[in-house]
Symmetry: C2
Subunit: 324 residues, 2 copies
């Protein structure tokens, strides 16, 4: 799928923080053309990206058509559907239907939406293969931290034995501040909520659900598993005390919420100071155990609209080079 | 350069720890065939790798011919020269002549040898381009820690603003133990020498020369520079005191020997605890500053014969897939 001449045509389905981030980055890449943008209120066809970003900021509708998102995915001739609606791990909708329709219509999918990947991973992978298109989701695990493509491309010669990660920035921020300042979980959580680092309903992050979703995606991607969220044993960070963090620190450890991919387990664990997984603040990190190269760790910003959008852009550019 | 049917033919020039590591790994890959192995005493043609590894272990000559390494590079028909003779940053020989002859004869070069890359980077890159072959050196910077290919492949869509790294495992080991145990530089160095982590003459590592070489290679590779070792401002770790490390630690910092690529500078610097560059022991780490993805850090084993050989194997496999 070499497309060196004509621009690659995209739709952006979902126009929250990540979708807007994608729109901003795509403006700077001449070989990409956005043919439709959908939010929950409607669809903008052949949009002026600067204009709809302005309308969105002003709280106005971006729609200039009667199309639904599904209409756009099905009927407009384009190459890549950027699916960035919110993650829903119950039934994965509306993302799952968007992705199915995109792939069936021979459009590649690039996404940060974990829901469909957790609920229907193998169905979507097979649908992409059958239709000869790509399903790329670097942005769904660890935001700007490259892990999917690092393993697929750069570590292509290595056998991957396990992946162990700090995969949720909100939890990492809370644990880092509790440890550094000796503060209670509840206090740090409410400050994190004020700062926009934690959601008003923080359950999805602090109870380990988000981390478990990433564990599922990595297990299905790299260890030939066919698992879903309920297969993961999950313990959150809500019962971690400042005393436990202090004791760990005195012994040369930090406590992190760790996802273990082969074990299908998420729980607070002690990590030695000086271990590369021991990253602070909202950072994510993942250690990849290999046969001959030992343990390779990558760390980066796990969230943020521009950072997540940059991971999406890197997937789009891989598709444009035919190297997915 | 697609070679899906015939095996890729290699020579291994240099048969120390890394060369032997390459021989061991290559044995496990059916699509690779070693046509010659050279050490300082002679050349084994169409070698049985198991046999020459045994002879080397027993201190015997591996040679079964009158060929020199240069004869083998020039006259034997093969695809890739794995150049793993020792690094020499004075005149870069014998590696530089080996690489020149390999490239002129349209053979790709895969190397861990920093000398030629520091002394004659652009000459070698141009020679490779003119002859339509590859010059790959992932193993020369950070051993098994992927950085060259991470930036070239996985971060291909990002603009790289700077690279800051802990690039020498020996220095990192010494500083880590000094900090953790409050020990003097001299004492830890001599223990590291006993353990084989530091060389009998440790100058190259502890005075920052090795780190400076890696800074030069990264600057020339990613920032369009044309610099060599003497362009780097270098301070080693020999004057770091346990008191300085203790003071830094009390303030929440660790002292690391840091290479700054845009600055062309190597010096001991304070790194905040919880920063991903703050890795312990013999690990290497590098933070890659990007335009949109923020700071991405990768960490891994910077030395070790099998780990370095695995980086060489990954370059060989990239060439075999035509994706260099």
């Amino acid at each position: 799928m070499q497309r060196s001449t004509a621009p690659l045509r995209l739709s952006i389905i979902g126009f929250g923080a990540v979708g807007q981030g994608v729109a901003k980055l795509v403006q700077t890449v001449p070989q990409l053309k956005v043919v439709a943008v959908a939010d929950s209120r409607g669809v903008a066809l052949t949009p002026d990206l600067g204009e709809i970003l302005g309308r969105k900021r002003a709280g106005q509708s971006i729609a200039n058509s009667d199309y639904t998102a599904l209409d756009a995915i099905r009927t407009i001739d384009h190459d890549i559907v950027v699916e960035v609606t919110p993650t829903n791990i119950q039934d994965a909708e509306p993302g799952l239907t968007h992705m199915r329709e995109a792939l069936k219509n021979k459009r590649s999918v690039v996404t940060s939406n974990k829901g469909p990947l957790v609920v229907a991973f193998h169905e979507l992978v097979q649908l992409a293969q059958r239709n000869g298109v790509a399903l790329c989701y670097e942005a769904a695990v660890g935001g700007a931290m490259p892990i999917i493509n690092l393993i697929r491309e750069t570590l292509a010669g290595a056998r991957i034995l396990d992946i162990i990660g700090v995969l949720n920035g909100t939890c990492n921020y809370i644990l880092t501040r509790m440890a550094e300042e000796g503060l209670d979980y509840g206090l740090v959580l409410s400050e994190a909520q004020d700062m926009g680092i934690a959601e008003a309903d923080p359950t999805y992050d602090v109870m380990g659900i988000d981390t478990a979703c990433k564990v599922v995606i990595l297990a299905n991607s790299f260890f030939d598993r066919n698992v879903t969220f309920t297969d993961v044993e999950v313990t959150g960070i809500d019962r971690v005390t400042p005393d436990a963090l202090k004791l760990a620190r005195q012994r040369g450890f930090a406590v992190k919420l760790i996802g273990e991919v082969q074990e299908l387990k998420v729980s607070p664990k002690m990590i030695p100071t000086g271990h590369p997984l021991n990253v602070g603040g909202t950072l994510n990190a993942a250690s990849i155990w290999t046969d001959h190269a030992g343990e390779i760790t990558v760390a980066g910003k796990g969230a943020g609209s521009v950072e997540t959008a940059s991971a999406i852009l890197s997937d789009i550019l891989s598709i444009s080079k035919g190297s997915y």
